[in-house]
């Protein structure tokens, strides 16, 4: 059956078609002005789930990077502090060797002892170095310092850990005991022994030096551990960064418009709309009335 066309149905269909054209224009302009392909879940449910997942990944990535940066700050603070401590070891060793020399008299040894006492104070200062208000080598202690003025460890053996990748935590601190030795035989005790021997019993200095070397080895290995962790965190940070970049690109692919394609589409739509408008202007105009007398 062929439809009988009336002026009203013509007007209705035409305005409906114009409406369709115009709403398509609006959709494209929305996309262009917002830059987003998906503005609500029903635009693309699968795209939405990807977008949500990628956004979550992005935020998690940012946080992991922050964690890594914080770890690096901790580790590099430990690294430079321990570097300072290393020089104390070599200086003390030199002084003790001077004391062992048969030519040095009691006055000279006393002078050496005083210098080593000074170095010991300095070492306690190093051991109590703070990072962000917390003692670097104090573990998870709530106290202000890792060692008391006598050189006794008052921190704990708690590990400060950071998540630098999902499922991977890194310990960013080394405890005072790991670095300086356990109470009773720690660096400060060894230094006290050396001072004692210099003053009273130079013959014991040999054994003291051995103890000092032992502590120096432990100190260096703790230092090396810090360096190794630093490198590990640095590598993780780079991986997180590149993963975040990937997520960002993927999100743009899922969510953002293809600008040239959308502009082309809009142009085409404009042409279609104008064509529809001018066609409408012509179609609506004439009726038999125009031709009767």
């Amino acid at each position: 059956m062929s439809l009988r066309i009336t002026q009203k149905s013509l007007t209705l269909t035409t305005s409906k078609n114009l409406q369709v054209n115009l709403s398509e224009m609006q959709r494209l302009q929305d996309q262009l002005s917002s830059g987003k392909l998906i503005s609500k879940p029903s635009d693309s449910p699968t795209g939405t789930v990807s977008a949500l997942k990628l956004r979550a990944d992005l935020r998690r990535g940012e946080q992991l990077e922050r964690n890594a940066n914080d770890s690096i700050a901790w580790l590099s603070a430990a690294d430079s502090t321990m570097f300072e401590g290393l020089s104390v070891f070599s200086r003390v060793r030199n002084l003790a060797l001077q004391g062992m020399n048969a030519s040095s008299g009691p006055e000279a040894r006393e002078a050496l002892a005083v210098e080593i006492e000074g170095l010991r104070e300095h070492m306690i200062g190093v051991a109590n170095t703070k990072h962000l208000g917390r003692p670097l080598f104090g573990g998870t202690t709530g106290t202000d310092q890792a060692f008391d003025p006598n050189g006794t460890y008052i921190g704990d053996d708690g590990a400060i850990e950071r998540t630098v990748m999902d499922g991977l935590t890194v310990q960013v601190n080394v405890t005072g005991e790991q670095v300086f030795g356990t109470n009773g035989s720690n660096v400060f005790d060894v230094l006290t022994d050396i001072v004692d021997s210099l003053r009273n019993d130079p013959s014991a200095l040999n054994a003291n030096l051995e103890a000092l070397d032992e502590r120096a080895v432990a100190f260096r290995s703790a230092h090396a551990q810090v360096g190794a962790r630093y490198n590990q965190v640095e590598a993780m940070r780079e991986r997180t960064e590149s993963a975040r970049l990937n997520s960002k690109n993927a999100l743009a692919e899922v969510e953002s418009i293809d600008l040239p394609a959308t502009i082309m589409e809009l142009k085409l739509q404009e042409v279609a709309y104008q064509a529809a408008l001018s066609a409408t202007a012509r179609v609506i105009q004439p009726s038999l009335l125009d031709f009767l007398r």
Binding site: L3, R4, I5, T6, Q7, K8, S9, L12, T13, K16, I38, K40, P41, S42, D43, S44, P45, T46, T48, V49, A51, L52, K53, R55, A56, R59, R60, E62, Q63, R66, N67, D70, L132, G133, R134, G139, T140, T141, G142, D156, G158, I160, E161, R162, T163, D166, T169, E255, S287, L288, L289, L292
Partner: protein, 452 residues
Amino acid sequence: MGTFDGLNVGLSALYAQRRAIDVTGQNIANVNTDGYSRQRVNTVADAGPSTPALFSRADGTGRGVRSVDVIRTRDDFLETRAHQEHASSAYLGQLQTVMGRIELGFAEPSDIGLAAQMADFWAGWDDVGLNPSDPAARSQLLERATTLASGFQQLDSTLAGLGASSVEQLQATIAEVNATAGRIAELNGTIRTAVSSGLSPNDLMDQRDLLVLQLSDQVGATARPGADGAIDVYVGAMAIVRSSSVEELAVEVTADAVTGEPQVDVVWKDDRLDATVGGRSKALIETHNVIIPDQRDAIAGVADELRAVVNGVHMAGYDEAGVGGIEFFVGVAGQLTVNSDIVDNPSLIAASGVPGGKVDGGNARKMAEQIGPDTSYRDVVVQLGVESQTITRRTQMQQTITDQLDAERESVSGVNIDEEMTNLVAFQHAYSAAARFVTTVDEMLDTLIRMV
């Protein structure tokens, strides 16, 4: 045939053509009137007396023309289908609107929706983990937790608001339906009187059909022809309008027998029996009774999971003083809040994984790794997206069907100006010719009279 009968024949032609011209004028006048059906004058040739009689002079020639009645051109089958399709269109259209509003409430995907707030919340835990002794990190976490909790509250109340407004809309719709049914009943009365006195109240019938179509949109009404030009209008299996009487509808809110949740329904005002409504009302009822509760349940599920996960981890940790963690979130979905004790005293945040007042962030770190609630929330959003997309597609399909049907109805009943103009020319010529005929008869009689 009598001497003067010719004049009568001419006169009947003049009458008939003038009537036809009048009706054409009426058609043209209503070319843009909603629901108007074009009208035609039915004419028949007046056959004259055909009964043989003693002194009958009838010679078999007719006595001119008679206009029998004026009919409106419409296809009842199409009208019935229009009622059904319009009801479906209105139903789906309303559902689409609601789904669109729900999607707006979720505001996903974006940097401000619940997903983003949740991610910020987890990141806040990580910051506390980095610096457990820093009060600033703790306050930031509390701020984010409060934002997240109020995000859940807000979404829930937005949804609840949509449910409540659908009841208001339903009440307004039903009030309108009752008024419209009253108008139809009135028109039925007028039309019956007109028909029984031999008139053709076409224009009143058009008005009435338009009102019935409105009822189809609103409650899915259908119409059946009754006696004397009246119609009966049905909602479900019951008549809302029977001839001139109206059965009114009412909105009833009851508590569900199992859950105690309010359920809205449309009932007959007199006997309070359920009315099987369709169209927009059906969509409004579904919105309030099914769609909104489902969405609220889904969101409540996510909130419950969040509370359980966060509290579980939190209570396994230790606060700044080294005491075991307390509940972090309290309250169900709509009223999810951060435990006020913690808000008052941020040091109660159990960031530490070891007892005894250590500056440890182990538990906070563990918290930051939780992803369960995020996944559940994404599922809810995607489910909503799929449902909304389905409704949108169904609406578009239904709209195409309805539009096409409307076009067919317009094609049958609509006024075409070209056609009317052609008819007008034809009727005008017929009128001129009839006038000419009268002149001819007049001249004939003149000739006859002058012979005497």
